[in-house]
Amino acid sequence: MGEITLKPKYDGTIPVECEVITPDIFEGKSQEEISALKVLIGPEEHLLSDIFEISGDFASKKENMIIKIAGNAGNVKLIGFQMTAGKIIVEGDAGYHVGREMKGGEILVKGDAKPWAGMEMEGGLLHIFGNAGDHLGGCYRGRWEGMLGGTIIVEGDAGNNVGDGMVDGKIVVNGNVRAFCGIRLNGGLLYVGGNAIRAVGVEMKGGTIVVAGNIKNFAPGFVSTGVVSDYETGLSGLALPGKLIGFNGDQAFFNKPKGKLYVSLIENYDLLNDELPATERPIEFQGNALKVILNTGSTIEQGRIIKGGNKYSHEYLEVCAVCNMHPEDYILLGKPEKVKVTSGNGKYSVLVRAEPNEDVLRRNVFIPRSVWANVIVDAYSVSTGSPIYKGGIVYVEPSEGEILEAEYIIDNIYR
């Protein structure tokens, strides 16, 4: 067993593209040769030795090689890219795309992994002891096939789109997952030990998903196949609840889908009831502020005004600096003339006119996509590059301040 230690010494914010950190590339290279491997920081080429202090035993075959990253490597991308054998141990966090397209061997991440861990993986084991980000074991944008084989184990939680497009292999997340878990699943096994939210298994054609916890906002395309006991599922080695509800889907997308979805009976008893009443969002106050969902979008009026770039006019303010809400919510807030809308994380707020509007659902608000709305839009993008213009959480409270002109906002708030 030969161990090569890489001690991180780069702490910049721009991630480093380090697809060279694999036993396949290290094999047969001396310390000097490994130190001279090229990596990219943005468009700039650097040497691997600029990023890590490199030491250890360089003589072993890749099968027997252990690459140890002794520290946090959250800004190092593509660790173990396309590796076929050997072992990589990351003692801290791992950056984006850890274990991408790996074909064999083992990667252990003692800390957290950033999004796209195990993307399009074909074999081997990726074990993450902390939390994983979005697109765990997922596929590249637009592709039909995600993970093709191998095993991913996450001891903590994982983000959105876990296992999207998975064809074969196994993903085990012992904690919770976020939305779109197992979207477009074609095969393989996806196990979630905790809870899941929104659209689990949508567009799935085959494969198996197990959610041992609760599912919030169950997708409509699944048809129940009845309650089964854990031993009847044919799944072994997983912590299953005693009774599960089986589903087949996603029938909203395919004629005869082979997708199987098992969810814990005790956590999801409501799902057995075919006619679930539509539940409204509860009224939740934080101080004076009502918790609501923010939707933004361009309006025709707004388009008419800004044709030719007329964004600094008062007319634009009148049309766009407005918060449409359901009349009931409007009354709940005491029919305010103006409201302060605060972003979900509480960091940013903007003052706009309040307007009751029956077209908006209860506990939802609509603000035209504009200079004002953009102050409070959630910057989180699920790795898409586009923030959440619709569906983010904000807080609305009555306020007496002054509605700021677009020019002022651009000059003072965005700076």
């Binding site: 596929c139 590249y140 944008r141 637009g142 592709r143 039909w144 997308f253 395919f254």
Partner: protein, 583 residues
């Protein structure tokens, strides 16, 4: 300028009847010449290609390489790009993409395969500017585009009124305004109905609002074409594409223009180049991607090949030329102006789909698709595409994959192996679905293309059919010095089809306008290619009337301003108008 001798190669030049003759080709100032004087020979570059095969530069008469829908295909399929980066070199740009490569990469890949002339098969008039913007950065190749006119409001209106002269004046105006080359019909009359969610399914069925049938549009535009004397005949993507049992409909479509005589008006651009066999087009209708139109049966269950019937008809008819649209298994992106056709495909496919309505003019659809060897229907389609090429007289058929609809152009070498080697076909038939053999006549066909046949279907016939015979598709003195040298022995072994594929994947030399552009796939020079377009002068009075009509409808219905519509020559690389005077 340059002088060059291509020495000792074995030449295949079908338009001159040269079938494997060892001879020297002389080049001077970008053109092929009879010979060079002793003085000129002294400073001429000598390219020794003894034992290699020499052909005119490849002419692709039907490909989709530029314009909005091609770009939509790229945007929709990021997965086609991230694993195929093409590195920048000292003289080439970077790029990516396998099915629809980026614009620069397309130019490099096409030329390293030996193709020097590309005709983009569908340009929406309103978005012609985009096509030219992409042409502008497409390196090396000569190019032109066909204008989508089959569901154009003006054309349909004038034809319905029976005013063929006005229709002709509009077409002449539109070709010049958009700097395009020929008349393209895609699902004629049907695409207009598609704007209201409908389609037409027969030649007589009238479409919505204009009340004109597909048959009337095809005949009308064919008359217009010959009235103007355009270099190419009408280029027709017939209705009912991809529907089982469409083959007899296809024959009826071809029958429509039987009586119309081709009349090319080439006085002003004729270079006087002579070839042994006429390089003048003889057809009045060019049928595209025939593979999709030669379906038998009544449903996918009794689906079968009707390539034999189609080939029989084409062989005995002088007024038809077709391209094959052969399938190469694997990933493709279907992209066409046939909006309803691709809607049907998208519903079947259940995956990604893009659809566009181009105001008063046409529509478009894009659907990424995979042709699978395990699939019954795809296997038969594969057989149809090859049968059409094998059964039809090479003078009347052109080898294409309708890039990238039935497969990307980079699969041409694969299609070539299936044509040149029966063993290649048999080996493929062993691994694809058994329907390929059972539902078509391919299994019993022992024809193997010779290099002469191959040069015919990839050079001579295509150049002739699109009216570029005055400079492309042959090696007569006076023709453009676009020449390809392939590293394959004239007495190759057809059973060793891997070697054939390799030879046609990368040309040994590609020469464009008398300059060596690629050697063994390495790009040496990246000159800008020409852009051909039609500059037709029609009766001034009628021209004025139709422009007034056009301006009126612009004010009322278009989202763009009339003055922003025409594409100026500034957008074109080496603009090369083909002047046509009908006054």
């Amino acid at each position: 300028m340059t002088k060059m001798v291509i020495k000792g190669g074995t030449v295949y030049d079908p338009l001159n009847g040269i079938d494997g003759e060892v001879m020297d080709i002389f080049i001077k100032d970008g053109k092929i010449v009879e010979n060079l004087s002793d003085g000129e020979l002294k400073d001429a570059k000598i390219l020794d290609v003894k034992g290699k095969v020499v052909m005119p530069g490849g002419v692709d008469s039907h490909t989709h390489v530029a314009g909005p829908k091609v770009n939509t295909g790229r945007v929709m399929c990021p997965e086609d790009h991230y694993k195929s980066p093409l590195k920048k070199t000292h003289n080439t740009h970077c790029g990516s993409g396998e099915i629809v490569p980026s614009t620069y990469a397309q130019g490099y890949k096409y030329t390293s395969m030996g193709y020097t002339t590309l005709f983009e098969a569908a340009v929406p008039p309103m978005i012609a500017r985009h096509t030219h913007e992409e042409f502008k950065v497409m390196p090396i190749v000569d190019k032109a585009g066909y204008l989508l006119l089959g569901s154009n409001w003006f054309v349909m209106k004038y034809l319905k009124e029976g005013n063929i002269e006005k229709a002709a004046a509009y077409v002449a105006w539109a070709l010049e305004a958009t700097k395009t080359f020929g008349i393209k019909l895609v699902n004629p009359a049907g695409v207009e109905s598609w704007a209201w969610g409908k389609n037409v399914h027969s030649l007589e069925e009238e479409n919505i609002h204009f009340g004109i049938s597909s048959g009337e549009v095809i005949k009308g535009l064919c008359d217009v074409n010959e009235m103007l004397g355009l270099p190419m005949s009408i280029h027709v993507h017939a209705n009912n594409l991809g529907h089982p049992g469409n083959w007899d409909f296809t024959i009826d479509t071809m029958d429509l223009t039987k009586g119309i005589k081709p009349a090319v008006n080439k006085k002003t651009y004729d270079t006087g180049v002579k070839t042994k066999y006429s390089h003048e087009r003889e057809q009045s209708i060019y049928m595209t991607h025939m593979q999709f139109h030669a379906f038998g049966g009544t449903s996918w269950k009794d689906f079968e090949s009707k390539a034999e019937e189609i080939s029989k008809y084409v062989n005995k008819s002088d007024h038809v030329v077709m391209d094959s649209g052969s399938i190469a298994f694997g990933n493709a992106i279907c992209m066409t102006g046939d909006g309803p056709g691709l809607y049907d495909l998208a519903v079947m496919n259940g995956q990604k789909w893009a659809n566009v309505d181009v105001e008063l003019e046409c529509g478009s659809g894009v659907v990424p698709f995979t042709y699978s060897m395990k699939n019954k229907v795809h296997s038969v389609q594969w057989a149809i595409g090859l049968e059409l090429l094998l059964l039809t007289d090479p003078k009347k058929v052109i080898m294409t994959t309708d890039n990238p609809n039935a497969g990307p152009f980079t699969k041409y070498p694969l299609v070539i192996t299936w044509l040149m080697s029966q063993k290649a076909r048999e080996d493929t038939m062993k691994i694809c679905h058994k329907w390929a053999g059972e539902r078509s006549g391919l299994a019993g066909n022992d024809k193997e293309y010779s290099l002469y046949d191959l040069a015919t279907v990839t050079r001579a016939t295509s150049a002739k059919a699109i009216g570029m015979g005055h400079r492309k598709g042959h090696l007569s003195p006076g023709a453009d010095a676009d020449i390809t040298v392939y590293d394959i022995s004239p007495d190759y072994n057809p059973n060793d089809y891997k070697a054939i594929e390799k030879a046609f994947t990368t040309a040994l030399y590609t020469i464009k306008d008398g300059e060596v552009i690629t050697k063994d796939g390495r790009i040496i020079e990246t000159p800008k290619g020409r852009t051909y377009y039609i500059d037709a002068r029609f009766n001034d009075e009628i021209q004025k009337e139709i422009v007034a009509d056009v301006q009126d409808w612009f004010r009322r219905y278009y989202t763009v301003n009339f003055s922003n519509y025409p594409v100026s020559e500034l957008y074109l690389t080496r603009p090369t108008p083909l002047n046509i005077n009908v006054r």
